[in-house]
Symmetry: C2
Subunit: 156 residues, 2 copies
DNA sequence: ATAAAATATTTCAAGCTTAAAGTTTCGTAC
DNA sequence: GTACGAAACTTTAAGCTTGAAATATTTTAT
């Protein structure tokens, strides 16, 4: 997946393949840097941060299935991460009146406060890591990725 | 990390943040699709495919440390993946004459044949998943990502 | 009302991942 | 040539990840 430097294959489709490899390497590199900083600065992980970010945007709470769909990860995966966040007091599960299969998951006050701090640092890190991308280029790149989104995101 | 739709925050740096989120969602979505197909079609995993792809480009073999640096993953990680590939007969470790700490890792004939088949399918999948991206747009996007690479890849 | 299908979630096994600690081997300075 | 630090790997513990199986609850069809 992360093929790279040396040869430079050509032929039909090679440009798309090369694009995919660049895309993957860029996101892996940035992701690794963010993971390391989250660990060092806040003693947390990327998956925990992701879940908290999703919940921060939904003060009324989210269902487990909403979380897993939004985060693009499996159902069982979210269970474990939420379990750990609950045991750390950052997230709470609330039984619902109507449907007893589901529970609303939301940030606790502590979780919300904790996330606000991390989010500010996170945004600054992105600004630093993508510093050489001008705001205008960023908008243009975002636009290109957005316009192709329907191609790979079959559902959205 | 994978924040998304609803609100549309603005302010300095928000464009870069939005770019990062798009980048991450694009690569995660495509990655998930590839993982699923590798599993279904070839009963293998993305990490195994990555290792084999790296080795395929280096017929003379690679050191474990070369592999982990190239693939952007930790040293210990590669050990486990290579162990499994060895036990499947797709990869071989060869002791070196000079330095007894290291071993050259390379594809076996079976591994090489197996990879060639998967690589063809893989390239076709990418062509399909990125089908709406014209070859020209692909080259342009690749160029933009490449020109910003030094920003996030401190080493290369 | 009852059975069957659908939904929401958790559990499980296997594998991936990292950071840190441990092992072996090498190079180099005395 | 001995000791010391560096280098290449492996091992370990904890956590992430998936797909599939298991639970529990709700909905739908009869």
């Amino acid at each position: 997946m992360v093929a790279g430097p040396l040869p430079a294959p050509s032929g039909p489709g090679k440009d798309r393949l090369r694009l995919w490899i660049r895309l993957l390497r860029a996101s892996r590199t940035i992701e690794a840097e963010l993971r390391e900083r989250l660990k060092k600065e806040f003693d947390t992980t990327l998956p925990r941060f992701d879940v908290m970010a999703a919940l921060f945007r939904a003060p009324e709470g989210m269902l487990m299935s909403d979380l897993s769909r939004f985060l693009l990860v499996s159902n069982g995966n979210v269970t474990g991460i939420v379990d750990r966040l609950v045991s750390e007091g950052l997230v709470a599960r609330a039984r619902r009146n109507g449907d007893r299969r589901t529970s609303m998951v939301r940030l606790t006050d502590e979780g919300s406060k904790s996330f606000a701090t991390m989010a500010a640092a996170h945004e600054a890190w992105i600004g630093e890591l993508l510093g050489k991308v001008s705001e205008e280029d960023a908008r243009r790149l975002t636009g290109m990725l957005t316009s192709f989104r329907s191609n790979w995101e079959g559902r959205e």
